[in-house]
């Protein structure tokens, strides 16, 4: 049982290129999230999905898109990468039970550098 996996572990990308960060969970959690983590700024929510087939915007969604075709996968796409998107990206999931609180489980992260 892996929990949450992310790929790639790290990537160097030229500005203007398209990039998809992959995230897969095997816990059958309803909700999934993408965060970016920048030094001194903590974790900021990019996009989220409360259940398969639905997505929503977080605090910093511009320049990113997501899809949730099934329960397990939640890819994050940068359509045209810019240097300000250099960051560490974390995927998370949560069972998000009705009326329940929202403990989130995090993946190991993807370190992305945009040149």
């Amino acid at each position: 049982i892996a929990g949450i996996t992310q790929a790639p572990t790290s990537q160097i990308l030229a500005a203007g290129r398209r990039m998809t960060l992959r995230c897969t969970q095997d816990m059958r959690h309803n909700a999934m999230y993408w965060y970016r983590q920048d030094l001194g700024l903590g974790l900021r929510l990019i996009h989220y999905s409360n259940t398969a087939g639905t997505t929503g915007k977080g605090e910093v969604p511009d320049g990113y898109s997501v899809s949730r075709a099934n329960t397990d996968d939640f890819p994050l796409t940068l359509a045209s990468a810019v240097p300000s998107q250099t960051s560490v990206y974390f995927c998370a999931s949560s069972p998000k039970l009705a009326g329940g609180m929202n403990e989130q489980f995090f993946g190991p992260g993807t370190r992305l550098t945009v040149l």
Binding site: I4, A31, Y33, Y35, G40, L41, G42, L43, R44, L45, Y48, N50, G56, G58, F90, A92, S94, K96, M101, N102, E103, Q104, F105, F106, G107, P108, G109
Partner: protein, 113 residues
């Protein structure tokens, strides 16, 4: 907008001493709080949580205290060990937020030998 912040960005303690990491939150509607630990190069790991109807909750070597009057919570680590060295984040959520978490900027805990 609402935010969660930390009083101190860094904290150094001697091995064996107790550590106290503080967190202030500004949204009085927040009703659930979580502490996460993040080691270098890894994703955040859940430590302990507390609901707003509680003042204190204890885990293994950790205790979280919640003071709703001053909107403050703290994480106490007993007998701090070298393996406790990490960045600690508090996070909050409130009804109407779709139960999304808002994270503070983190405190770096360093355990000195």
């Amino acid at each position: 907008g609402e935010s969660v912040g930390l009083h101190l960005p860094t904290l150094s303690v001697q091995e064996g001493d107790n550590s106290i990491i503080n967190c202030a939150y500004s949204n009085s509607a927040s009703d659930y709080f979580i502490w996460y630990k993040q080691e270098s190069g890894k994703g955040p790991q859940f430590i302990i949580d507390i609901r707003s109807n509680m003042d204190k909750r204890q885990g293994q070597r950790v205790t979280v205290l919640l003071n709703k009057t001053v909107k403050h919570l703290s994480l106490q680590i007993a007998a701090t060990q070298p393996g406790d060295s990490a960045v600690y984040f508090c996070a909050e959520t409130f009804p109407g937020s779709a139960r999304q978490l808002t994270f503070g900027s983190g405190t770096q805990l360093t355990v000195l030998p």
